[in-house]
Symmetry: C2
Subunit: 325 residues, 2 copies
DNA sequence: TCTTGATATGTAACCGGTTACACATTAAGA
DNA sequence: TCTTAATGTGTAACCGGTTACATATCAAGA
């Protein structure tokens, strides 16, 4: 790789002039500019970002901290973040923390010492001391870390209500629910919204993590103890897929005997049999908004922290009945 | 963040001494060592990786180039890579190229100018001129870029044979197949293996991309034109899920009337109804091996290029019949 | 003609590490 | 006692950019 010195020599100017034409800063004569541009082209020169970072104290890198990219909700988020970052000349560093504070801490110092310009956090520890001392632009995604940190979340409460409402409208009279992990505020809201609208129609409820195995166990337990119910809302699509599988195993017909609604809108819902009706979070959009916000923060366009609440929608596939009109 | 100078002053030594104790290089007295260590602790010092990179021309960063993290095969790979990299003090930069040469090229210069130490490539252009001129350690994963570049792949040929063999053993007599995209060599091998063993039992075959929508179309077409068949092998699990969904829609009983085998062993296969029998690639293992190999390359432990072929296994779930004994 | 501000360009300091080199000091061996 | 090698430490150059500052030229306005 050529250096700026070589370019300068090649174009018969000083390094300062080369730097000026690259950054379009200061005064440069047309003549010099052309010479430099030609030299750059001829030497196939691209400036060393490490050197630039050192002086500028900015790396055009953003850190993406998530529990586990393997969880099917996150890839879309990561994709959106990467897309937007890339469009603005940033790269993203991927960090899987498994929600372990220690891993998180390790990543945080690594990220800091490499001078990332900002952080997107998809993690849960609202009390996490790691972030408090951190003087870095950051935005929380799908999680609420603490007041004072920007957050982008979708409207889980409305989503929960929408799920209950839909089930009721489609003629369900005995509702069940599988909630997500208790420590996730954004997930809890779904349950709250659902319970609120379900009222005394709610006949069974349990809780599960977001792994399929756990979800399957929870489903079995629910079917064993709370059956019969004719409408069920799962806190996410993975859990809904487990419910579906368990229903098939028990020869319960979906949606005739049991209507099922999931939450998230991940691709998985399209692939189940029958395809899953679900409350769609605008996942890609959330990633996009969060990244754009972070970029604004980095460029100091706006520093008042705020929470962005994105709307959810119902996607009717085939685990709910057609609405009668 | 403290700098090495501050640490040096605090410990009453020179920066060289501080550097020496941090890197355990050269001679340092016990006394000086303790003073420095205490200063580091008190100032909460961590060396600036950017500065270190500039001098060392090595960033402890590795670039991960993949088509689309949203494709359910890749997150596990990414996870493995990230895990191993992290264990060795490296971070990974995520790049989604959508298989577009232009994006790839952009990433490549970005990655080079930030002095990544190596590349893991999960992409397809065997003729890709971008990589030829690149003087960087790299390993191709699940893809064969060209001779001379290390590659880690699973044994698709054996996998295809295993699928046909299994179907035949379980009593299928009329076989069908949906192949993957033609330009993926590693995927083509699955088809070759399958066709070889299926022989004249093969009654229908078509091709599909790895998106669910396309797979659904391909399935429908196959059912329309080649039915009846009683065993089908799909080039990956997403396609198999589509076949399954279409079979359910047509009230074809699986596995009684039709046995289905997928390929990959992604989590999705666990979530379909019924759960999918599939040929499992050791995905995480592949990511691990590739990354360890890359790290060896970076540290110049071994430079002879080689291709690593990992074995696949059959995972029997419920879309195939139990073997009669 | 003289002053002044806009234009143009180069030199060198700086960012925060690493390390070559010079220079002590000390201990072991002759 | 004199060499010599091992040990210990500091100074400064270096990595490849950016930019403050000094300097020079030139045209416009007084």
């Amino acid at each position: 790789m050529a250096t700026i010195k070589q370019v300068a020599k090649h174009a018969n100017v000083s390094v300062a002039t080369v730097s000026r034409v690259m950054n379009k800063s200061g005064y440069v004569s047309e003549e010099a500019k052309e010479a430099v541009e030609q030299a750059i082209a001829e030497l196939n020169y691209a400036p060393n970002r490490v050197a630039r970072s050192l002086y500028k104290k900015s790396s055009n890198l953003i850190g993406l901290i998530m529990p586990d990219i393997t969880n099917p909700f996150f890839p879309q988020l990561a994709r959106a973040i990467e897309d937007v970052a890339n469009q603005h000349g940033y790269q993203v560093v991927l960090c899987n923390t498994d929600e372990q504070l220690e891993k998180e801490q390790t990543y945080l110092v690594a990220l800091q010492t490499m001078h990332v310009d900002g952080l997107i956090i998809t993690t849960n520890h609202s009390h996490n001391p790691n972030y408090e001392t951190l003087d870095l632009p950051m935005v929380a995604l799908d999680r609420i870390v603490k007041a004072g940190i920007d957050a982008v979340v979708s409207d889980g409460y409305e989503g929960g209500k929408l799920a209950a409402d839909t089930l009721l409208k489609r003629g369900a009279t005995r509702l069940a629910h599988i909630a997500g992990p208790d420590h996730l505020k954004t997930v809890k809201r779904r349950t709250e919204g659902f319970v609120e609208v379900a009222g005394d129609k709610l006949v069974g409820m349990t809780e599960s993590t977001f792994t399929f195995k756990d979800a399957l166990k929870a489903s079995q337990q629910l079917f064993d103890h709370a059956w019969p119910f004719d409408g069920i809302f799962a806190a996410n699509d993975v859990i809904a897929a487990a419910v579906l599988q368990e229903a098939v195993r028990r020869h319960i017909r979906v949606p005739e005997e049991l209507q099922v609604i999931g939450y998230d809108g991940i691709e998985l819902g399209e692939m189940t049999s029958p395809p899953l009706t679900t409350i769609v979070q605008p996942i890609y959009e959330m990633g996009r908004v969060a990244t754009e916000r972070l970029l604004d923060l980095i460029e100091k366009k706006d520093t008042r922290p705020k929470e962005m609440l994105l709307p959810v929608t119902l996607l009717e596939r085939q685990t709910t009945k057609r609405e009668e009109r």
